[in-house]
Amino acid sequence: MNEHDTLGERLAQQGISRRSFLKFCAALASMMALPPGAASAIAETLIKTKRPSVIWLSFQECTGCTESLTRSDTPTLENMIFNMISLDYHHTLQAASGYGAEKSREDAMKEFYGKYLLLVDGSIPLKDGGIYSTIAGRTNLDLLQEVAKGAAAIVAVGTCASFGGIPEARPNPTGAVPVSDIIKDKPIINVSGCPPIPVVITGVLAHYLTFGELPALDDLGRPKSFYGQSIHDRCYRRPFYDQGKFAKTFDDEGARNGWCLFELGCKGPITHNACATTKWNGGTSFPIESGHGCLGCSEPHFWDGGSFYAPLSTPTSPLNLATDAVVAGAAIGAGITIANRMKKNAAKSEHQTATVADLEK
């Protein structure tokens, strides 16, 4: 079986009925927030697509994003996405290892130069020449720059690849940066989240494969269909926020009644993601529904945004009035002294002495 047959041919070879595929496209349409009627159109397009080559580079990451995407090894609708693409290189999922693995990557790059899709998870360390993360003896920076050259587009999977994530959090000892800080000449989609919702990852891939172009992106490079609204905008506990009914601790009466979690540190208002609608674990629930405030994991620098349990209206860290006060005090004192001195000098210089003769005029 040729790895790069059309999708239709591949499905037929695997004995997957067209009806099954139609069901998968209905799920895809729902994922991509397209009207359900688009399912047949999607099916017709995809069935004729030749499976594109996908290279997945894992850098400074925890593998959570891959875990999110591939929760089981039984054939599922979500995993049908792997029928739609030819995953030619992935550390965790590929069977090959060592030089064999590197060779399959190089072969894929050569054969599909300019057309393959590059998926990256994890941030890229830059400090000390980038030696803090290497693969097969090469720094992440080096590898990324080489593989990106022949890529048609890059999908930065997870907050680490999109914005730097946890390695980039203060004090950022490895000099971690996101993909978009290094590659400037290729289209990049940021699928952020720690990890991203699995159907969001597959939905973005499906969109690219169906329509041959990147979905509409927001100002942080995230697809608007999934990141266009904040958690707060679609939260089912919103009526309680609007009425000012807040849970004060994790197990009080308000919490049991499902009241808003703002006072327990929920970052829902400033976080854009699909958690409130698409939810997790196949639509089971999402953090707020399970009683814990949103962490803001799809936003840049969320690790440095203060305690997860500090409400948005409070300071992010204990106030440090002492040193800042000294600085402020010195500044004010100096400023006022200078102003007063200047006033005094100006008055002095403008002072005109008067003599009796002047007065008699």
């Binding site: 009806r19 349409a29 729902s30 089981s72 979500e78």
Partner: protein, 138 residues
């Protein structure tokens, strides 16, 4: 504490409403009218709508069960049912692990997925002919 001993309380359906239900029913009525008038099919993706606890069940209760119920096994089960309002079908797709992957209302005379697909018919015909040739050599 034993796993079995942790108390679990289930939210009752009589909680509160955030108004989604009424708006949804109005939309269903509008789409059904359009279909009755000129055959324009409609669909509503239920996954994308925010439901308060209990509102989803209220929708099920309201739409009820009609005369037709279909079960499909295609990489996981799918349940399709005509509601008590003919022309309003509730289609739910599950994956093999039982998670919902698509949940929608279709306003139509019959949902597309129930019909036999032409590619499958062609493949099935080929298989049938091959088996006829094998079994009945004449």
């Amino acid at each position: 504490m034993n796993l079995q001993n942790i108390p679990v309380s289930i939210e009752s359906a009589e909680e509160y409403s955030i108004g989604s239900l009424h708006a949804l029913l109005v939309e269903i009525a509008t789409l059904l009218e359009e279909f009755a008038r000129d055959g324009t099919r409609g669909s509503i993706d239920l996954n994308s709508l925010p439901f308060a606890a209990g509102e989803y069940d209220k929708l099920r209760q309201f739409l009820g069960q009609g005369e037709v119920s279909v079960r499909i096994e295609a990489v996981g089960p799918s349940e399709i049912m005509e509601t008590r309002y003919p022309g309003v079908w509730w289609v739910t797709h599950y994956n093999v692990e039982g998670d919902i992957v698509a949940d929608m209302l279709e306003i139509t005379d019959i949902p597309e997925i129930i019909k036999s697909q032409s590619a499958d018919i062609a493949a099935g015909l080929e298989l049938l002919r091959a088996q006829l040739n094998d079994e009945v050599p004449q």
